[in-house]
Symmetry: C2
Subunit: 501 residues, 2 copies
């Protein structure tokens, strides 16, 4: 991976801090700066002048070595420069933007925000900024470190999405799984089928994502090393699609006549597949990521069962009364449609469970809490790449420090061969939208998702909850300082409390 | 109650809306306007032009009568005026401020915010604002409708407190129970003992409430018909007091020598009582309300038990090993000290349970969830005024719509005489601060506390959860529109989503 701007997977990083009277940060290879600078680095400082709150980093780097050799820093001459051996350079917009961003974080005449080294910099007795000579070698344990946000159960204003992308970057998350539409609303504004949002959004003008909005999300994410994987979940979870697309959904029957309600996508009409072909052709061009999430979870068969045309089709196909065969029939055709757009796809675990034939590069997302380990075994035994979200459904809340539960999860604890373990490429923290919107999403997500971030980034051996608590307390205050309303872990305070409301 | 500005108890209200071609709101008696205008009035409209979302009010008024007679409204001539029979007038600053406040809520050329009648005003087919002739008679079921916020476990910036007073007013809460200090920090800046906050606050400058801050909170609350009752909880929950007041706390012993840690207020030293005398003299002048909350909950006896001087004192007093007697000894002297300031006092239930002799006008707060009904019986049987907070500890969170549990509570369901029931003057929703600060307090409090608001305001017969849900969904959107990040009850949207972060 040598392209400037590629976010996935993250490469290894080697980084050296050296200095003279005025310290000069050297980054090598520099084209990785954005990726690593999404978080903070941890130094095991020797000097007694360091206080507990000056040495915390989140997520913990894989390897670092700090020496007692300290350099004094001068705001006037401190700068971020390209290392000689860097293959990137001033032409790399991604890096230039990152430089600017970290400059802007900086309060005048302090060093705080210089890239990720804030916690390496400390004030000495005379108020002079110091930095110790430090070597850091860092890389993520898992390549896929995602956050799922749901903009259908509640519309999420652009501002909220961008703020959470910022917070994701601070926690080294690199995938925004955008569960953009669902039963409740269809805020994605389609150029090909504008009626989907005109009739399916909560409001056709104020509760939609315009093409420009979507572009902004993608670009804002890209600048922070984050991929955007949109999910257009079918054939279930599609009630809102039916408002703007006639005959897409299955008419449910009450006895011998239509009840007026609708079920999953109608899998027996060619028009459904024609629609999906056009729709996903658009999606494949709007979203640059190599993957699209196609959903495929929780299909309710009752409506299909009630419909005489569906019944007839089942008989013709020899499906008997096994409606999961009909579901697979639909999904199979959909996957072929999406494959033709040259995109890879992710699916929820049911698609695998139902025996649908999947492309080799399919990513299966394991979300069901019961029999999670069994599922991981099965999916990886079949040779499929897997991501895990089951233990990290952050919409479920409870009193107290539930982040510890998320933190204690070991994604590779299931029985399996090394080859199987390697197929688990990461995980996602999911914040489904039933109970969250712009008013409460951000504090509910952070720092609870930070626990998942460290689990997916740091070494498997990083499991000390007490140590994690101490670092996370400070990490959440850093988020607060940057304007992210990350909620407290427990009693205490931040030097700078949240200034918003 | 005829004074302008008195907030407690709230009197009955009679209010008539009449109108000609241009409607004129008449308020009678007008000096009550502020009290009633903390919420919205509900009209059982006849006209088919009303949609569900136009007729919701929270909390539901005691009585209203709406007719089909509608008046058109003109922004140019619409005004709020003093009724002829009003005993108040333009000299009543409270009312003038309320008028101005509701004017400011008003977007240009709409009627939305005119006092509380927003939901009585609706657009007809031609976009003209209409209002139906409506008679409303309203009064609260319970006189004490409080919110407890805790500014010790986490410091709450002034902005957060003021925003929540605003939200309280919108929900007709009329008591801010300010649990201002506790073990973790002492943010109250005392003129008499400045070291209490200098050494006991999380930070002596940024995490304190200056005298000016306190005044602002009190005045902001007063303008909205809200009393401010400060709680200075002793003898337990006082760890932070010890930082700035030498010898106030009991030294704990490990074996025969002091361990270096401290326990509750030292009840055997005269200096403790001298301190309390001076301290509460200040408090009694800073806080104008007739009541001070003195706490008295959860006293941990282990430190007292370890201390040889305390042991000796226990023996001298003939307390044996019953440390609750020592606790009562302390509380008794404290109550006498506070009584001398001419203030009434509130206490947590343990003070009553331990048999401390209380002034007749003491308010006992029942907070323990187990044996709640038994406690209500006992306290009221003894003739004490009571408020209930046990079922409304909003710091305990769970997945789903827990507001319904708060809503279903009937405060007077305990067995007792009518005279006993009358002693229950209200209740409080408590949001203890272990897990909340400026980042998440407001959405966690609202609209969950709104359920308590209606229970304490509306008639006992108002218990339909489905109807409440429909109204509360809209009420929370009104709060969001006014800038309060009240979280969603469930899936859905607000016409205007929250604009903050």
């Amino acid at each position: 991976l040598t392209r400037c701007g590629s976010a996935y997977p993250l490469p290894r990083l080697n980084l050296t801090l050296t200095g003279a009277m005025y310290c000069l940060l050297k980054l090598a290879p520099l084209f990785l700066a954005v990726a690593v600078c999404n978080g903070w680095l941890f130094g095991d400082f020797v000097g007694k002048q360091k206080e507990q709150d000056e040495i915390s980093l989140w997520p913990l780097p894989q390897k670092f070595q700090s020496s007692a050799v300290a350099f004094k820093l001068s705001p006037a001459s401190f700068q971020i420069v390209h290392a000689k051996q860097s293959s990137a350079g001033p032409s790399c917009g991604l890096l230039e933007n990152a430089f600017r961003r970290y400059e802007l974080y900086s309060p005048l005449f302090t060093f705080e925000p210089v890239l990720c080294y804030k916690r390496l910099v400390y004030e000495d007795y005379y108020g002079v900024n110091n930095i110790n000579k430090t070597d850091i070698s860092d890389f993520p344990r898992f390549a896929h470190r995602g956050i799922l946000l749901d903009s259908s159960r509640h519309f999420l204003p652009l501002k909220v999405i961008l703020a959470n992308l910022e917070a994701m970057a601070m926690n080294k998350f690199n995938v925004f799984h955008w569960h953009i539409v669902d039963d409740q609303s269809f805020p994605y504004m389609s150029r090909t089928f504008p009626e989907l949002s005109q009739k399916g959004a909560y409001h056709p003008f104020t509760h939609v994502y315009t093409p420009s909005d979507v572009k902004m999300v993608i670009e804002f994410a890209r600048m922070r090393g984050i991929r955007v994987i949109p999910e257009f979940d079918t054939p279930g979870h599609t009630e809102s699609w039916g408002n703007g697309q006639l005959d897409l959904l299955t008419p449910c029957y009450s006895g011998s006549s239509p009840s007026g309600t609708f079920g999953p996508v109608n899998p027996i009409l060619n028009s459904s597949y024609d629609f999906m072909t056009q729709f996903f052709k658009e999606i494949s061009t709007v979203f640059p990521d190599a993957y699209i999430h196609l959903g495929g979870d929780e299909v309710d068969f009752r409506c299909w069962e009630s419909n005489p045309d569906i019944q007839k089709f089942m008989a013709q196909q020899g499906f008997g009364t096994d409606y999961s065969k009909l579901e697979s029939f639909y999904i199979q055709r959909l996957l072929d449609i999406v494959a033709a757009t040259k995109k890879g796809y992710m699916v929820w675990q049911e698609v695998f469970d139902n025996g649908v034939k999947l492309k080799d590069d399919t990513v299966v997302e394991v979300w069901m809490g019961n029999k999670m380990e069994e599922e991981l075994q099965n999916v990886t035994r079949a040779g499929f790449t897997t991501i895990l979200s089951a233990p990290w459904y952050l919409d479920y809340i409870s009193y107290g420090q539930d982040w510890q539960h998320y933190y204690k999860v070991e994604p590779l604890s299931f029985p399996g061969t090394d080859a199987q373990k390697k197929l688990v490429i990461g995980g996602e923290a999911c914040l489904w939208g039933e109970y969250v919107d712009a008013t409460n999403l951000t504090p509910r997500l952070w720092p609870r998702a930070s626990a998942v971030a460290e689990r997916l980034w740091s070494d498997k051996s990083v499991t000390d909850v007490g140590n994690a608590y101490n670092r996370l307390v400070q990490h959440r205050c850093r988020m607060v300082k940057r304007g992210i309303p990350a909620e407290p872990l427990f009693v205490g305070h931040c030097r700078q409390e949240y200034k918003g409301l």
